[in-house]
Symmetry: C2
Subunit: 267 residues, 2 copies
């Protein structure tokens, strides 16, 4: 079997987007990532600030924000417009041929409005399956040396935009593109990686695989909040993704010679 | 010389965007426009409303709005996010493979910050030249059956987004694409076309050419406000555009058998 071409899909969130110096450092690193790549971004404090100014009240159920019509307009403006287009302009200045996208554009990510769960209506929240991603057109864009930059919005094919978790968007894109590419999925978060001791910021576990994961879990030292991330990473790997990396945006290194900091999760 | 393939570039403004019924009627017509096409949209009342809610004050000099930093963020959110992505989702629902874009995306429309004019600083306003439009990539997108939908934003290649007049965006795209295509440029506005008598809404002049234009101007019956539009149309035609049409969005007909209402401006 011939080796597949590498593709890096990198997801950044509020902790990078809210800090101009960190963001610029990340974008410079992203620009020099070799080969084909995509960026997925979430939101940040700016969405909350603008929401407050527009007097859009946040409603939460069980810790999850309900996407009512006003909130959907807010995230369409802020994620799809302000954050996405500023990222594109900044990347273009660095020589990276970024193309800003949502899942509605070119029907790249058709999704389904989330069904009622335990009687809770999550509003205009979209659930996305990897099988529905339009990987053929994404492949064409990559062949044209474009770098897709995704805001976490999808649509239902019936004219309705949907708010979709950025981690889910990154994972669905990764699984969909794994048919054609050797996909590395990089999740940037606030820590340097998965920590062996939660109180020691430098105790980064360099690699987690199915063999050492059970032992790590049983040690009881892993931070509870990280377990769903690791479980999701293994789910992506089982679905064909080559590796999942968890670490800090400003530490992203994806070159043959680089020594990446962070945690690699592999089969 | 072999005939060039037709390309229709249609521009809509606030009078259509602000009226959901008119907008839906237009999008249905746009979807059935045969062959290759692009859409360019301006803003609408929603930008003013959101600007007011965010307490962004409008500053005007000589009737032209100054794009300060807050206004640029506002148009990036509203034009580039809210309006653009809603249009894309609505078109996708109609089966039109829309792709929302700004001039920063894929470096499609690099522009220049407007120089001081008579000592006036217009702020983050971008002047766009047809020669700078990335027609090669637009051609590739059209070949992939995509329908570009442009928000009136450009960038300066140095990381700065710029606010650009939507008529100018449409005209620059038309002139740039005229190298490869037989371009019809359709400007939708509030009247049925250029009126022979300003007080008679049905006195649409079906065709204006360089021969009858002088006589029309000397008749003194044309509305003064329409003259710059006609002059800009002739400028586009001299630069290679096949024809310019001025009329109402809900009257747009672009098919072999259709009898278009509105005014055609041709060499």
């Amino acid at each position: 079997m011939p080796e597949k071409e590498p593709l890096n899909i990198i997801k950044i969130g509020g902790n990078v987007l809210d800090d101009p110096a960190k963001l610029q450092a990340f974008l410079e690193r992203f620009t020099v990532v070799e080969g084909k790549k995509m960026l997925v971004h979430g939101g940040g404090k700016i969405a909350t600030q603008i929401g407050n100014q527009l007097q859009i009240e946040s409603h939460y159920v069980g810790g999850r924000r309900i996407t009512d019509a006003a909130t959907l307009d807010l995230v369409t403006m802020v994620y799809g417009g302000l954050i996405n287009k500023k990222l594109v302009a900044q990347l273009q200045a660095l020589g990276c041929n970024a193309l800003g996208l949502t899942g509605a554009d070119a029907n790249l990510m058709p999704a389904t409005k989330r069904a009622l769960k335990d009687g809770i209506d999550y509003g205009w929240a979209g659930d996305l399956k990897a099988a529905d991603v339009n990987d053929t057109l994404l492949h064409t864009l990559l062949l044209n040396h474009l770098v897709p930059v995704f805001a976490p919005l999808t649509h239902n094919r019936q004219g309705q935009l949907l708010n979709t978790n950025a981690d889910t968007v990154a994972s669905a894109l990764a699984v969909a593109m794994a048919k054609e590419y050797q996909v590395s999925l990089l999740y940037c978060f606030e820590k340097k990686g998965v920590l062996a001791q939660i109180e020691d910021e430098d105790s980064v576990i360099p690699e987690i695989n199915q063999t050492n994961y059970e032992a790590l879990k049983q040690s009881g030292k892993l931070f509870d909040g990280i377990l769903p991330k690791i479980d999701n990473a293994f789910a992506a790997i089982r679905a064909g993704v080559y590796l999942v990396w968890i670490g800090q945006a400003e530490q992203v290194v994806v070159s043959a010679g680089g020594a990446p900091v962070g945690t690699k999760i592999m089969a």
